[in-house]
């Protein structure tokens, strides 16, 4: 039981950032803009978020501070992604190239700004956010130890973001319009939807969530940010495709990837796996290989937005 609880708790730590960022990526892609700059957005969010934590931890501590820092990280991601949105929506640039530029800029900026402010590229912060046991809920049998002990508030925020994001894109008129712009912008335009504005909205959401996801990744796994999120943005992209651009499939994919990451990083603490003669590195490869295999099987009925990556030309209908 303790092993299972441990695995679930660890999986949460790895899955939640992937979930948040993949949902962000979904917003941008379903509005018709490919954003491979998610990794850059995560790095930017992680950087400003930890800088905020570092500066404010004297005055504040605990969950309130973390929530504020998440907001700071989200806004950073939002501002950062504006460059991508401007290039790909207004200037009709190649979105993959622009996203690559984003990914290149962010780590360099984080190192540079870190050195400028702190003298080193590592930004340390005090972890006052760990929740050993949620009052009342932590005492529920079975569910309590799995979900409400040894956790971070980011887990619950992550689920909140997931359900909100699912509701907005699937159940509101705004979501319907956004999806229409990714599937058939011409048709959306004829019924009076401003395609460029919807695409801006989708891309901004992806930036906001990637920023939050960056800090969500750093806080539970470390006590400093180091100008990198270890390719988690790319992994989130894989989660999004693995989940076929659909909210609940993304949820499943995020937990599959999180479980694999947990097995790879904590395999020595899991007795069953420790005894298998497979090197740990193999487990680290599994999520990527699984994505490739899923892509092959899904290729015949891929649910990718039909118009993603194609700039919308009003006159080109």
């Amino acid at each position: 039981m303790t092993t299972i609880a441990f695995i679930v708790q660890q999986t949460m730590i790895f899955s939640i950032p992937l979930l948040i960022v993949a949902m962000g990526g979904m917003y941008s892609e379903r509005s018709g803009v490919i954003n491979i700059g998610l990794d850059g957005g995560m790095i930017m969010g992680a950087f400003t978020g930890t800088v905020f934590l570092n500066r404010m931890q004297g005055q504040m501590s605990g969950q309130g501070l973390l929530v504020l820092a998440l907001m700071v990280a989200g806004v950073t991601g939002l501002v950062f992604v504006m460059f991508h949105a401007f290039a790909s929506i207004n200037l009709k640039a190649n979105q993959v190239i622009s996203g690559t530029a984003m990914n290149m800029f962010a780590p360099a900026f984080a190192v540079f700004a870190g050195r400028l402010i702190f003298g080193t590229q590592q930004v340390p912060f005090k972890d006052t956010f760990f929740i050993r046991r949620v009052p009342v809920l932590g005492d529920i049998p079975v569910i309590g130890p799995l979900l409400f002990r040894n956790a971070y508030i980011t887990t619950y925020i992550g689920f909140l973001i997931f359900f909100a994001a699912w509701f907005v894109i699937q159940k509101t008129p705004f979501g319907l319009r956004l999806r229409a712009c990714g599937e058939h912008p011409g048709a959306a335009d004829t019924v009076g939807i401003d395609v460029q504005r919807m695409r801006w909205a989708g891309t901004l959401v992806s930036g906001f969530l990637s920023g939050i996801g960056g800090l969500t990744f750093v806080v539970p796994t470390s006590t400093e940010s180091n100008a990198t999120v270890y390719g988690y943005g790319f992994l989130a992209l894989a989660v999004m495709i693995f989940g076929q651009w659909r909210s609940f499939k993304i949820l499943g994919a995020a937990f599959f990837f999180g479980l694999m990451k947990t097995i790879a990083s904590a395999y020595s603490a899991i007795p069953v796996i420790k005894n298998l003669p497979i090197p740990a590195t193999v487990y680290k490869m599994i999520p990527y290989i699984a994505t490739l295999i899923v892509l092959i099987f899904m290729s015949k009925r891929s649910q990718a937005p039909a118009a993603e990556g194609i700039p919308y030309e009003k006159t080109g209908r």
Partner: protein
């Protein structure tokens, strides 16, 4: 000026273009297709230069923010790059350039077929581990050909790694960008496994040193320029650039590549096996990236394959090299040297207390500008062409103008 004759010979490309591109705006009637073609060539260079200038300006701003006193000096250091007087600086710039020229060539070659090879990093790492493995374990191979065998191993490794996204793209229509990214990570972990299981040097937690006899020949360059660490790699780079240029612009296969890149469906209709072309393009791209790793690890510059879980930066750095050259194989050689040059400039920048990541930011801004400069170029071209529509419409409609296509020979060889 050539105003008078234009009226009758509109359809001929080489019909007396204006003497100077700057004078084109003098009269709308003067603009014929040849001038447009030449302008397009100048746009390519112009937009690359604009991207570089913008990048450097942003760099200057960053320098001024972090330390205004030394900003001018800092910018000079970036521009000076490896040219600091000593031959070793030059050697360092060349050594930095060589792998990114090859990965740039890899990206450019795939781009010709309409593919964005963001997986050069994975191909680079696999190529590198193959070359180093053969160099260390290939004790039965004679010294004289060992380096060549290593190169072939690197080519094969890179080609295999590149073929996966190619095959998936051709036969399953899976986007090559995402598969390439996946292959980068799989390659990174596979490299780690291979090194740790076969050629590990546990004292330094990296691969064993490459034996001297497997080094790339120097042809006397090492004695002529002591301390510069030169070998024939740069020469090989030039040869590969020329080979790729000839393949892509002077052969039937190159034509097929371009056709598939511009419109796979139309090229299939024209009888081109577009699936095979896509796969070969990715195999070629992978082989080129693999050779880049061979040149880096067997070049005797003191770089070892390590087992840190970091995706090789040289692959990603091939992207700006290729984009800045507008994906032209010969251009790649020069932009590769340029990026290598300013990278060394960035390392020298640390003498003034700046961090060398400023260069990465400058390069990122350059790619960002390059992302829409291609579009900007086409837009300018379209405007000019529509202005001269009455006089220049060729029978059969306008030529192809997809991303990254080279100027056709008649467009670049205009002599006034």
């Amino acid at each position: 000026m050539s105003d008078s004759s234009d009226k009758n010979n509109d359809n001929k490309l080489n019909d007396k273009p204006p003497a100077d591109a700057g004078q084109v705006e003098a009269s709308e009637a003067e603009i014929n297709l040849a001038a447009v073609g030449r302008l397009k060539g100048s746009y390519s260079i112009f937009s690359s230069v604009m991207a570089i200038v913008t990048g450097l300006l942003v760099g200057l701003i960053i320098l001024m923010i972090s330390n205004p006193a030394n900003a001018g000096q800092g910018l000079l250091t970036i521009l000076k790059g490896g040219m600091t007087g000593s031959v070793s600086g030059f050697g360092r710039a060349v050594a930095t350039s060589i792998p990114i020229i090859m990965t740039g060539l890899s990206v450019a070659f795939a781009y010709k077929a309409g593919l964005f090879n963001i997986g050069a990093s994975g191909q680079f790492m696999i190529g590198g581990v193959c070359a180093v493995f053969v160099a260390i374990k290939g004790t039965m191979i004679p010294d004289s050909v060992l380096w060549l065998v290593c190169m072939l191993a690197a080519m094969a490794g890179g080609a295999i790694w590149g073929s996966v996204p190619g095959l998936l793209k051709a036969y399953f229509k899976v986007n090559e960008v995402i598969t390439s990214i996946m292959m980068n990570y799989i390659g990174m972990y596979l490299t780690k496994i291979i090194i740790e299981r076969t050629i590990y040097d546990s004292r330094y937690a990296r691969a064993q040193a490459v034996p001297l006899r497997a080094r790339i020949p120097t042809l006397g360059l090492d004695t002529r320029f002591p301390g510069a660490n030169l070998n024939i790699s740069l020469l090989l780079c030039i040869i590969f650039c020329v080979i790729i240029f000839i393949i892509s612009s002077r052969t039937v296969f190159g034509f097929e590549l371009t056709a598939v890149g511009l419109n796979p469906d139309a090229s299939r209709y024209a009888g081109i096996n577009s699936k095979r072309t896509v796969v070969i393009a990715m195999i070629g791209a992978g082989a080129l990236a693999g050779i880049g790793a061979f040149m880096m690890y067997l070049g005797g510059t003191g770089v070892y394959m390590d087992t840190k879980e970091i995706v090789a930066a040289q692959g990603f750095n091939g992207i700006p090299v290729s984009l800045l050259a507008m994906n032209h194989p010969i251009g790649v050689f020069f932009t590769g040297l340029f990026i290598g040059h300013i990278t060394i400039g960035g390392e020298n920048l640390q003498l003034f207390g700046y961090s060398k990541e400023i260069i990465d930011m400058i390069i990122a801004v350059i790619i960002y500008c390059a992302a829409f400069s291609l579009i900007f170029k086409q837009l300018l071209h379209r405007i000019i062409k529509s202005r001269s529509k009455f006089k220049t419409e060729k029978p059969g409609g306008p030529g192809p103008q997809g991303p990254g296509r080279y100027a056709r020979p008649e467009e670049t060889e205009v002599i006034s």
